[in-house]
């Protein structure tokens, strides 16, 4: 360990050599190397976390670069996990970095998470968030959670006991996944580039505090930040009971659980339908503005066979019927490329 590299934090009261050694010995897994994952990785690598794992199956895209500042223009098209590992080892050759260019899924979750002390949820979709929540609960791993929406962020530390021995998870906030269209991701809703930077740095800070034992962590607390009005709120998360029957309560059950289906099927009236079918199948009830042809035009009929969407309908006060399109099972979040969701909202509101 090069002491000179870390001397500015070694000299901190309450941190010192002991704190640095705890970081050096730590094993930390970052799930998702996107907006949240980049700052998390950059600061934790720089801080001297001894063993960092990165798991992400995504490739760098031009529209990532305004917020994922670990990557540059020459990285476009390359795997994020691999590019991140290559850059981080240059930033700090003292540390070990392992990476997987794959998606965290029920089949690999326990194997990937098991060797690590702390897991960071830097994902961008509910299927992986609920998978991580359940897997970390079952493995009793601390989970540092971050999530963002446009100008607002949420932060928490799950599965870590407070002074009363109480632990909570993401299920204590949201026991059941939402309809994906209720909370669109960055592709669909947009995001200010600095937001994941701020939330990711908070996550990295909580991880350092957790590993070194300094300060007070956000255990059983949910912190929210709003960049527009600088509003910061911290909510207490009580350990309440909820229905546990609908999701896996053992690692064996988790392995076979379909989180993508689980997160996409929260509404009973959902049905799978292709765009080609939308064009040829009459919509139930009055077609008018919401005819299949109109929908197909709205989302781009140039690629009618390319995507399979789940379609649901419900009554609204204003126009009688709202139709939501949701992404295909293979694409659990967002409708990419971005922009179509916005067009859609305008058309049907």
């Amino acid at each position: 360990m090069q002491n000179e590299r870390y001397e500015r934090q070694l000299s901190l009261l309450g941190f010192g050599e002991a704190g640095q050694q705890k970081l050096q010995a730590a094993r930390l897994l970052v799930v998702g190397a996107g907006g949240l994952g980049c700052p998390v990785l950059q600061y934790l690598a720089a801080a001297g976390i001894g063993h960092i794992g990165i798991i992400d199956d995504d490739l760098v895209e031009l529209n990532n670069l305004h917020r994922q500042v670990l990557y540059d223009t020459t990285d476009i098209g390359h795997a994020k996990a691999e590019v991140a590992a290559r850059k981080l080892i240059l930033q700090n050759p003292d540390i070990d970095i392992a990476f997987w260019v794959e998606q965290l899924c029920p089949a690999n979750a326990a194997e990937r998470l098991q060797p690590y002390d702390v897991i960071l949820d830097c994902t961008d979709n509910f299927a992986t968030r609920y998978l991580l929540c359940d897997a970390c609960y079952l493995l009793d791993k601390p989970l540092v959670f971050g999530a963002i929406y446009q100008y607002e962020g949420q932060l928490a530390v799950f599965n870590v006991a407070d002074t009363q021995g109480i632990k909570t998870t993401y299920r204590h906030l949201f026991p059941i996944p939402p309809d994906p269209m209720e909370s669109p991701d960055c592709n669909a809703a947009g995001v200010l580039g600095v937001l994941p930077g701020m939330i990711g740095i908070h996550q990295a800070t909580e991880a350092i505090k957790l590993l070194t034992g300094i300060g007070t962590i956000l255990s059983n607390k949910l912190m929210t930040i709003n960049l527009l009005d600088n509003g910061i709120f911290t909510f207490n998360i009580p350990q309440t009971s909820f229905d546990e029957s609908s999701y896996p309560r053992s690692l064996n059950a988790l392995k076979d659980f379909d989180y993508i289906q689980y997160c996409a099927s929260v509404r009973s009236q959902i049905q799978g339908i292709t765009i080609a079918e939308l064009i040829t199948t009459p919509a139930p009830g009055s077609p008018s503005l919401h005819s299949p042809r109109y929908i197909a035009d709205a989302i781009g009929k140039n690629r009618p066979q390319a995507h399979c969407f789940y379609l649901s309908e419900r009554q609204t006060q204003s126009n009688g019927r709202t139709i939501f399109l949701r992404p295909a099972r293979q694409q659990p979040t967002g409708i990419s490329p971005g922009g179509r969701h916005d067009r859609f909202k305008k058309l049907f509101r």
Binding site: T123, F126, Y149, G153, Q154, D179, S183, N226, F233, P238
Partner: protein
Amino acid sequence: MRIQVKTFGALTEILEREFYVTAGDTAELLTTLSRQHPDLAHRKLLVAVNNTIINTPVDLRENDVVALMPPYSGG
């Protein structure tokens, strides 16, 4: 009881970010808001009263602050 409601995330597309409303308990509050805004009825929301998250209806007192927050998926 006159209470203050604060909303977060995509909920601000349906409700004002901050407003005052009259309700005796959180169930009545959510029923009233859902009636006024049918889009709310199916939403998964976190409800907090005076900065503590609740999952069963809670009586409200004058000047209580109720936060309504959806989950965020972005990362």
